[in-house]
Symmetry: C2
Subunit: 234 residues, 2 copies
């Protein structure tokens, strides 16, 4: 569309000098060397946000679970597999970031034990005991010197109700909510932004366009930076 083309070819410089940390993709929680638990995520939304932030002048670090996507250029990309690895990479990179955008579909649970050898299938049934993974967004939003945090909520039902609750639980100023059935894997999506002022449905469109609109909305919410050199007007 024309709007899409304008947005993409005429990026604003709204995020010039901002340091932005983005997570993307699924995580995979190993059961044994050949099996794992995963979330369904192509990584497209997170990569689109990283790309859009780069085009808007930001200094972007992308921490990505396993995807088939090519890492954006002009961006530090760190590949991880499990939620614990993603948590550790985020905590190692978060210091000094202006913004943290948690787009990754992180597995909430992992198998309690990982078998080092391929499990041989004899039994008709198998019990798998799962334990909670660290909550990466909550960990960052509870840091004393936290960056501006943006969360994502993919819900299968009662979208707004679940998303509103999630934004308060996670203690983040901005949350992007989308329906699983509309977002997963495709190139298009539909998103509702939720902040202190209420709900802001974005027009449906490509993930590239949605990424630009989300970042534009977010840019208007960022506090005037006092600590970052990059925020001094040029």
């Amino acid at each position: 569309s024309i709007v899409d083309a304008l947005q993409v070819t005429c990026p604003s410089n709204l995020l010039a000098g901002k340091r932005i940390l983005v997570t993307a993709g699924p995580t995979i929680e190993a059961i044994d060397p050949v099996r794992g638990i995963t979330n369904f995520s192509s990584g497209k939304m997170g990569y689109a946000i990283a790309q859009a932030a780069i085009e808007m002048g930001a200094d972007v670090t992308l921490i990505s679970g396993p995807t088939a996507l090519t890492a954006p250029r002009h961006c530090t990309t760190i590949q991880v597999t499990s939620a614990q690895q993603m948590h550790d990479a985020v905590m190692a990179e978060v210091r000094g970031q202006d913004v943290f955008i948690a787009v990754a579909a992180v597995a909430d649970y992992r198998p309690r034990e990982v078998q080092s050898q391929k499990i041989k299938k004899h039994a008709d049934t198998l019990q798998l005991e799962l334990v909670r993974n660290p909550d990466i967004l909550a960990a960052v939003s509870n840091l004393p010197d936290r960056p501006f945090c943006v969360g994502f909520a993919a819900e299968s039902d009662q979208l707004l109700e679940h998303a509103r609750k999630k934004r308060l639980q996670k203690n983040v100023p901005l949350l992007a909510a989308n329906l699983v059935s509309e977002a997963m894997g495709g190139d298009d999506s539909r998103i509702v932004l939720i902040d202190d002022h209420g709900e802001h449905p974005l027009p449906s469109g490509s993930k590239t366009l949605l990424a630009h609109m989300l970042l534009q909305h977010m840019a208007g919410m960022l506090p005037p930076s006092t600590t970052s050199d990059a925020s001094i007007p040029e």
Copy 2:
């Protein structure tokens, strides 16, 4: 390499007129709308075998789990997600096939119950009860009018011992065995073929080259066809 180039650019016509059914990729067993259990498989080996079989003149049907790969041209491709769907697609397509090559990394177990709504994470631990999936290769190799069956074994340890046992259990004339640590995701692999005459290690190489070598070996084992029109010498 020169051998690679020769193999790929000068394909034999060894499989002209043969109907070959190939499975490839992982399967994903849904836990709920956003989570699932999967096997680690890029699908590259199965797609390479389908492609090589096409180049050797075969009429190929590819049944593929979720991958990021582009389907080969001149090939019927059926996309599936779960092991049960792959089983059903194979059983629907197997009649009249000369060869069945089971390359897919099929999940052996699936969750007993699939939640239709996204599971909300409250508990610190979760018990997941898994039940056995159908064994697709065994189902085909036990058909009264079965095609020539080729199995794959990806093992993390005691490769040949497990693979020999698997060939007998599955009742297949040819099995290709490879080590998980060497095969997964990469473009190269190493394979040992196992048949009634013993073990035949293939030289290590690209999955494309290995696919050609496997099919050449297999072509020499195929019975002279009596039912297929396509096997009449031209």
